[in-house]
C-alpha cells in the first residue's frame, strides 16, 4: 500500500464521476490534438505540394479554385485554355519552365492527369520496381495510393471515366495501360494517375464523336497517333487546335513575380494565380473556424477542470472522516495534501493519454472517410512533440483543480472530525 494506490482506490471507488471527468477532459484534449495534427501536417503538405510552382495559369474564374484544382487536385478545374495561347506564354523570357496539364478524367475518383515528364520530376518522384514513365498514348503511371487501392500492377489495363468524380460515364473505347507505379512520397502524386496530354485528348475525341459519325479518315488519323511517341518535354505536338486545362510555371527571376501575373491577367484570356498567396488566403479563411474550435476545446477543458474540482471537493466532504482516520493512524498533513493532488493529477493524466489517443483515432476516422481528398494522405499515427505539451497542460488543470480541496484536506482538524460522531 502506498499513496499512489490509495489515490487510485479512491478514484475507482467513484467510477462514474471519475470516468465522466476523464472523458470530458479527453474530449477537449482530443479536439486540440486533432487541430494540432491537421495544422502541422496540412500546412507541411500544402507547402510541399506547392514547392517549385511559382504560378498556376488556367481559365478565368476563382483563383483559389484554380490553385486547388491545378496544384492539389481537390477542386474542379475552372475550364480549358487554348493551347496556342499557352505556347505563346512559354516563349516569354520571364518563364523558366512551364508544365502543361490536361485534367477532366478519373478512375474511381482518382484523377487522371495528362502532362509531361517534368511534372513527376518537379516532385522528384521515382518509380517503384520495374516500371517506366509513359512513352505512348494511353500509357499511365499510377501514384502509390492509387496502386494500393486499385491493386493494379504494371501491365494491367483499365477504363477511365469522364469527369473528376466517381459515377460518370466511362470512356470505353480505349483502355489505359499501366506502365509504372510511383514510390510513395506522401505528396499529391500519391493520389494521381499520370499520363500524357495526348491520352486525354484522344479519350475525349471519342467521347465527342458518335460511332455513327466517325469517318474512315478520322479513324486512320487516330491509329496513326497511337503508334507515335508522346511529348516528354514541353507541349505536345499537334496540327489541330487543342486545349489544355492548367499550366504550372516556374519563374526565371524575381522580376517575373511582379510582371508575369499582370501580363497574363490583363493581356490574355487566361488567369494566373500564385499558390502561396492563395493558400495563405485560404488559411486566413479557415483560421476563423480553427479559432472557434480551439475556443470550444478550451471551454470543454475548463468545464472538465471545474468538474474535477467539484468531484474532489464533494468527495472530500464525505471523506473528512477518512482523512481524520488516516491522520490518526500516522499520516501527516503533507501526505493528505499529496493524496488529493495525486488524485487530481492521476485523473488528468488519464484524461490526457485518453484524449491524445482519441484525437488520433478521430483523425484516422476522418481520413478513412475521405480517402481521395487531401485529408486522405495525412498520417493519423504520427506523434508530435507538441502533444507532450497537451499532457503538461492537462496536468496543470489537474493541479489547479486540486489546490483548494488539497488545502481543505491539509486543514482538517482530526479531533473535531472524530468526536463529531
Amino acid at each position: 500500500m502506498n499513496l499512489f494506490k490509495l489515490s487510485w482506490k479512491y478514484l475507482t471507488f467513484r467510477p462514474l464521476s471519475t470516468s465522466l471527468n476523464v472523458f470530458l477532459l479527453a474530449l477537449g484534449l482530443a479536439i486540440i490534438t486533432v487541430l494540432l495534427l491537421i495544422q502541422d501536417q496540412f500546412e507541411k503538405k500544402m507547402n510541399q505540394d506547392a514547392a517549385g510552382i511559382d504560378l498556376v495559369v488556367g481559365a478565368k474564374g476563382s483563383p483559389l479554385q484554380l490553385i486547388l484544382a491545378g496544384v492539389y487536385h481537390i477542386d474542379f478545374p475552372t475550364g480549358n485554355i487554348p493551347m496556342d495561347e499557352a505556347q505563346k506564354l512559354s516563349r516569354n523570357r520571364l518563364v523558366k519552365n512551364i508544365i502543361p496539364m490536361a485534367l477532366g478524367d478519373n478512375y474511381q475518383g482518382f484523377r487522371i492527369v495528362g502532362t509531361n515528364h517534368d511534372y513527376p520530376a518537379l516532385y522528384e518522384a521515382s518509380l517503384a520496381d520495374d516500371g517506366s514513365l509513359w512513352q505512348k498514348p494511353f500509357e499511365v503511371v499510377l501514384g502509390a495510393e492509387v496502386a494500393e487501392r486499385s491493386g493494379f500492377k504494371v501491365g494491367d489495363e483499365f477504363l477511365g471515366s469522364h469527369g473528376i468524380s466517381v459515377g460518370s460515364h466511362e470512356h470505353d473505347a480505349n483502355n489505359f495501360k499501366v506502365v509504372g507505379v510511383l514510390e510513395r512520397k506522401g505528396n499529391v502524386l500519391d493520389r494521381l494517375i499520370l499520363t500524357s496530354v495526348e491520352s486525354i485528348w484522344y479519350t475525349h475525341d471519342e467521347g465527342g464523336t458518335e460511332p455513327s459519325d466517325s469517318t474512315a479518315t478520322h479513324e486512320e488519323h487516330q491509329v496513326l497517333n497511337l503508334q507515335e511517341d508522346v511529348a516528354i518535354k514541353g507541349f505536345p505536338k499537334t496540327t489541330e487546335s487543342r486545349e489544355l486545362t492548367t499550366l504550372l510555371i516556374q519563374y526565371r527571376n524575381p522580376m517575373a513575380a511582379i510582371q508575369l501575373p499582370r501580363l497574363i491577367n490583363s493581356g490574355t484570356s487566361m488567369q494566373a494565380a500564385s499558390p502561396s498567396f492563395e493558400m495563405s488566403r485560404l488559411f486566413e479563411l479557415l483560421g476563423v473556424g480553427i479559432t472557434l474550435l480551439q475556443g470550444l476545446a478550451v471551454v470543454i477543458i475548463g468545464i472538465s477542470g471545474l468538474g474535477i474540482f467539484i468531484a474532489l471537493y464533494n468527495s472530500l466532504k464525505e471523506r473528512k472522516y477518512d482523512l481524520a482516520i488516516l491522520r490518526a493512524i500516522g499520516a501527516s498533513r503533507g501526505q493528505l495534501l499529496l493524496l488529493i493532488f495525486l488524485e487530481g493529477i492521476m485523473l488528468t493524466f488519464m484524461g490526457a493519454i485518453f484524449g491524445i489517443l482519441l484525437g488520433h483515432t478521430f483523425l484516422s476516422v476522418i481520413i478513412s472517410q475521405n480517402e481521395q481528398g487531401v485529408v486522405g494522405s495525412l498520417q493519423p499515427w504520427i506523434f508530435l512533440k507538441q502533444e507532450l505539451w497537451i499532457v503538461v497542460y492537462a496536468l496543470t488543470v489537474g493541479v489547479l483543480a486540486s489546490i483548494i480541496p488539497a488545502f481543505a484536506a491539509y486543514q482538517t482538524s482530526i479531533a473535531k472530525q472524530l468526536t463529531k460522531a
Binding site: 477518512d322 482516520i325 488516516l326 493512524i329
Partner: protein, 193 residues
C-alpha cells in the same frame, strides 16, 4: 477542563468514566496527541507528546498509539486487509502480521471483502485490528461498545483486553457503558469542573 493525574504501566487497563459532556473525549484526544494541553504533560514511554512537532507527532501516534473509535470509520474505498495495510504504510512500521491478526479476530474469511459488506460487529473488530496492527504501546478506545448489542460488546471488551495483554500495551477505555465495568476494575472518573 482539569483532569486528574493518570499513570498506567504497560499491560494494565483503565476505564475512564463520566457523564456525557464531562470531557471524557477531550481527555482521550489529549492522550492521543490530537489536542494539545494548555498546561501539564502527557508522557508515553518517556516521550512528552507536547514537545513533538506536527509531523513527528503524527508518526509517533501512528507507531505507538492505537485508537478505536465509537464508530468503526473504516476506509470505504479499501477492503479489510488494505485498511490494515494503511496503518503499516503511514506509521512506517512493520507491526503485526495482518493475516494472523485477522485470524485471531475471526476475520480471516473477510480479508478480501469490501468493508461495506461487514456487519456492525465485524466492522468494529476490523477497527480494533487496525488499532492493534502496529503493536502500539497504548490503546485508546472511545466508547467502543456503545453501538453494539450485549454479545458483540462483550466480545469487543474481551478482545481489547486479551490483545492488549498479548502485545504488552496499556489499555484506556473511555465509556459510560455499564457493561464494560464488570470486566475492568481499575477506573478514574472525570467530572466537568
Amino acid at each position: 477542563m482539569i483532569f486528574p493525574d493518570i499513570a498506567l504501566e504497560a499491560g494494565e487497563s483503565l476505564l475512564v468514566l463520566g457523564k456525557s459532556g464531562s470531557g471524557k473525549t477531550t481527555l482521550l484526544n489529549l492522550l492521543a496527541g490530537l489536542l494539545k494541553p494548555e498546561t501539564g504533560e502527557i508522557l508515553l514511554s518517556g516521550k512528552n507528546l507536547a514537545t513533538l512537532n506536527g509531523q513527528e507527532l503524527d508518526l509517533f501516534r501512528g507507531k505507538e498509539i492505537g485508537i478505536v473509535f465509537q464508530k468503526p470509520h473504516l476506509l470505504a474505498a479499501l477492503n479489510v486487509k488494505e485498511n490494515l495495510q494503511m496503518a503499516h504504510f503511514f506509521s512506517k512500521k512493520e507491526g503485526q502480521n495482518i493475516e494472523e491478526l485477522l485470524g485471531e479476530l475471526e476475520l480471516a474469511a473477510k480479508a478480501k471483502s469490501s468493508v461495506l459488506t461487514l456487519s456492525e460487529g465485524e466492522a468494529q473488530r476490523v477497527s480494533i485490528a487496525r488499532a492493534l496492527a502496529n503493536k502500539p504501546k497504548l490503546i485508546l478506545a472511545d466508547e467502543p461498545t456503545s453501538s453494539l448489542d450485549d454479545q458483540n460488546a462483550e466480545n469487543v471488551i474481551k478482545l481489547l483486553k486479551t490483545q492488549a495483554a498479548k502485545i504488552g500495551a496499556a489499555l484506556i477505555i473511555v465509556t459510560h457503558d455499564q457493561r464494560v465495568k464488570s470486566h475492568i476494575a481499575n477506573f478514574v472518573e472525570v467530572k466537568s469542573a
